[in-house]
């Protein structure tokens, strides 16, 4: 269902064509990261630390090198020593430890051999002597007085120079007088919460092939941004960007987890040493042990309200556990507090290092943790005040001009519209089914712009190639084609959208921050607008009129009284390109930009669920996701982002967690025991797209990729409270935890 579908009567924007890359993906021809094989390629395998924190005393590779099929072995010594202040220093050390292993699963060496089996056997034969060091495994341990250092290279960012610390960021935000507002409040609720580490859980493990030759690394891999893969790989190898070419494969899911690198410089160095192409594919176990989960968190939220439901103050303390390297999760968590007006605010946040895998972005990074806590407390206030939870939120919802926690004024946003859409929905208007209870919650994500390039080449028959550098992670090629079709006025299927390599299109930032359709889409539209000017000029030449007399209407040049087509009709794009040779040559345009004006996207979710009070099991019976898309370019893929984000959030809420043993080793490093939702766990996910256009995009786009994961945890927690009277404060709300709390009731 779409609340206001296609409000401005676009011809293509808002329609649902079959995606251009779809055929290859349903017949098995699409090539993902692991699907390229080069002649003579070797297979790489890693040696990984069995300790959460250890000094690497020595590495003896001689036995491994002597094994059958082994062609190269690398350790940290094979890579240049970057300055610790280099922006990619942590990435380099995370790819391959240098003298110290910072988590269980940290790569310490790698081998390349003729077969996978030989590589695996050789990796097992690398002898590493470790001196085990004290490890910090929890946020509390990390922040305790006198705690051992998780990583001696970490210094607190934005702070005066000082000793190494376990804290990467300390953020203190304040406005108004929180203490006075709390003292004056009619209702004050304060609660503590915690969240375990969770993984992005993309189905495609990290994979790459690198062919090194003539001083250059040719990389084929799947990622969310091959230009970042290029710069990171170049930095880790100590070479210029021109010495690394990255060809993007299809990407089998990322959700933020493929915005960094793990394999490419290692494969490059193995290829350089062996003289052969090297392919490395992570196992699922390696993905879970060695690639970025989302941070864990400890949170304490106190909110004060008047008896008529004005939320007058928030006092928050949030700490994010980000693994063994610097990160800004705490700062971003603070930035994500933006749903309500809160005239008085105090927010104290921390980013704490632990000897666990280095965190990577995960869909609206840091926001789900904060929303879980804040939306749970807001729900408690609604209950205490006897107010409908939507009405309470409507009374306090942020609108244009209201300040986020960071003090930034909101641009035009659609939270009120989302709340009203849920309130009017069939779901919210219905009485929960017998035995089920309902909860709802709000989510916010600010979205980003950043740099994008696009080239649009018109072919001689009037078709077009739209070339960008944004990996298509879930239908963005179709969105680019739709925006190009709308702008040029030609059929969407006459457009070929292409994701080009790092040497075939201008620099483009990572597909992250819900930015591809917004920023790269804007570049595509600008290139198309440039082409229209060129087309009008060519038409003027053909028609023999001044260009000022030519207009572009429905994919054709029109000049009243001077039609250039047959019988004086408008001159179509295809008619103009057919005559390109004699009017000045090929028609191409390039646009590049650093996009400002990303539009924040709010979401509001609602769940009906049952709790088995004897076993603690939660069954989601009905689920609705409402989200402001600005404009839905391809509504099916907007719904898909909303549904996918919802279900990742449901998994986070119910069962997903890293379970560590006392030594910091993950105990559930498989899809058997790291339990992402399966089809039978879920109902259909109903969607309501709200369209409050973003004035900073030619078609009103707000990014839609991330916000959907923000509301589900509190939505479910609030419904569990309604069902049982128990407020769950620890994620995941797995059956043993729920039953324990029910027993304590």
């Amino acid at each position: 269902m779409t609340a206001t579908e296609n409000p401005t009567n676009y011809k293509w924007v808002g329609t649902r064509p079959i995606r251009h890359d779809g055929f290859d993906k349903v017949v098995g021809k699409a090539r993902f990261g692991a699907d390229l094989n080069l002649p003579g390629q070797l297979h790489g395998a890693f040696v990984r630390s069995p300790h959460a924190h250890a000094r690497i005393v020595s590495i003896d590779t001689s036995a491994a090198e002597a094994m059958p099929g082994v062609k190269a072995v690398v350790t940290g010594d094979d890579f240049p020593a970057l300055d610790p202040t280099h922006p990619n220093y942590d990435t380099a050390v995370n790819c391959m430890a240098r003298g110290e292993a910072f988590y269980h699963g940290h790569a310490v060496a790698a081998v390349a051999a003729t077969t996978k089996a030989e590589a695996k056997a050789a990796a097992a034969a690398v002898e590493v002597e470790y001196e085990v060091l004290p490890a910090v495994l929890s946020i509390a341990d990390s922040m305790a007085d006198g705690a051992p250092l998780a990583n001696p290279n970490n210094h607190t960012k934005f702070a005066p120079p000082g000793d190494p610390s376990n804290l990467a960021t300390i953020t203190n935000l304040a406005r108004g007088d929180v203490d006075q507002a709390m003292a004056d409040a009619d209702v004050v609720v304060e609660m503590g919460f915690d969240c375990a580490h969770v993984h992005q859980g993309y189905i495609e493990p990290h994979a790459c092939v690198v062919d090194y030759g003539d001083g250059k690394a040719n990389v084929w891999c799947s990622s969310q941004g091959h230009f970042r893969v290029r710069s990171m790989t170049a930095d880790v190898l100590g070479v210029d960007n021109s010495k690394v070419k990255v060809v993007p494969a299809e990407i089998g899911g990322g959700f933020g987890g493929k915005t960094t690198i793990y394999l490419e410089p290692i494969a490059a160095k193995l290829s350089e040493k062996s003289g052969k192409p090297v392919k490395i594919t992570m196992t699922r176990e390696e993905v879970l042990r060695g690639s970025g989960p989302a941070p864990s968190a400890e949170l304490r939220i106190k909110i004060g309200a008047t008896k008529d439901g004005e939320l007058t103050a928030i006092d928050g303390w949030m700490a994010y556990g980000v693994g063994a390297f610097s990160d800004m999760a705490g700062l971003i968590g603070a930035m994500s507090v933006a749903s309500y007006k809160f005239p008085n605010l105090r927010m104290e946040t921390y980013t704490a290092l632990t000897n666990t895998p280095k965190s990577a972005a995960y869909r609206a990074p840091s926001a789900p943790h904060a929303a879980w806590a804040i939306e749970s407390v807001v729900d408690e206030i609604a209950t205490e005040l006897g107010m409908d939870p939507i009405d309470l939120r409507l009374k306090n919802a942020a609108v244009e001009g209201d300040l986020t926690a960071m003090g930034m004024p909101h641009p035009r946003v659609g939270l009120v519209e989302c709340l009203e859409a849920l309130k009017a929905s069939d779901h919210y208007q219905s009485v929960p089914a017998e035995g089920t209870s309902r909860g709802m919650a709000v989510g916010f994500w600010f979205n980003i712009g950043e740099e994008s390039s696009a080239t649009v080449n018109l072919n001689e028959d009037g078709t077009a190639n739209v070339i960008t550098g944004s990996p298509d992670i879930g239908g963005s090629r179709a969105s680019m084609a739709l925006m190009a079709a709308e702008t040029l006025g030609i059929d969407v299927y006459s457009i070929t959208p292409i994701v080009a390599d790092t040497e075939s299109v201008g620099f483009t930032d990572v597909t992250e921050g819900s930015r591809a359709t917004f920023a790269t889409g804007k570049a595509v539209v600008e290139a198309c607008e440039d082409l229209i000017e060129q087309l009008k000029a060519r038409a003027a030449t053909i028609m023999g009129v001044d260009v000022g007399e030519v207009a572009w209407v429905d994919g054709a040049a029109v000049s009243p009284g001077h039609g250039g087509g047959e019988g004086g009709d408008p001159l179509t794009l295809a008619q103009i390109t057919a005559q390109a040779k004699r009017t000045g040559g090929p028609l191409t345009a390039t646009a590049s930009l650093n996009a400002a004006g990303a539009g924040p996207s709010f979401a509001v979710h609602c769940a009906d669920l049952k709790v088995d009070e004897e076993t603690g099991e939660i069954e989601i019976v009905r689920y609705t996701a409402v989200q402001d898309a600005g404009t839905a370019i391809h509504p099916s893929y907007v719904e898909g982002q909303m549904q996918g984000g919802s279900v990742q959030g449901i998994g986070w809420a119910l069962n997903e967690e890293y379970i560590y043993n006392a030594d910091g080793a993950m105990e559930n490093a498989s899809f058997l025991d790291y339990r992402i939702p399966v089809a039978s766990d879920l109902p259909l996910i109903e969607t309501i797209i709200v369209e409050v256009p973003n004035p900073a995009h030619p078609y009103g786009v707000r990014g839609v990729g991330e916000t959907g994961i923000v509301p589900p945890m509190a939505t479910i927690g609030n419904a569990v409270k309604a069902a049982t009277g128990v407020r769950m404060t620890s994620l995941p709300m797995s059956p043993p935890k729920v039953l324990k709390r029910l027993n304590e009731r």
Partner: protein, 163 residues
Amino acid sequence: MSRTHINCIVNGEPTDFLAADATSLLDALRDELGLIGTKEGCGTGDCGSCSVLVDGKLNCSCLILAPEVEGREIITVEGIADGDQLHPLQQTFLEGAALQCGICTPGFLVAAKALLDANPDPTETEIRYGLAGNLCRCTGYDKIVRAVQEAAVQLNSTSKQGV
């Protein structure tokens, strides 16, 4: 390393290949036969990305040793269309936007085909349990379930017309 000569039928064609005995059917399909449509998501039978039909039955090819398929008939995602004519499931997946990244799609198509071959008119619950061995992280399963429902309708109407 010694390798075994294995004869089988893959997507209707008599096929033979060499593989070490410990090689999985998945690796043999991908590395020996170049059938890269079958994907590895976990290697432990927990995600279904490597789903194939062996003698008509749905299996995870990562759990099968290559020599086990001697004389067997294997269908992969590359074999479910009829020439250029997509299988109704492939068509409804495209039309219904039932794929986002597409890495799990081959496994879902094979599993859904097995499901509909055995149960032409499944309920939503039967579809959900029938596909529970296939993990998708992008879609939340909603559009996949709907695409399978739509394909079932199309297949049933075609088969009725044929009678």
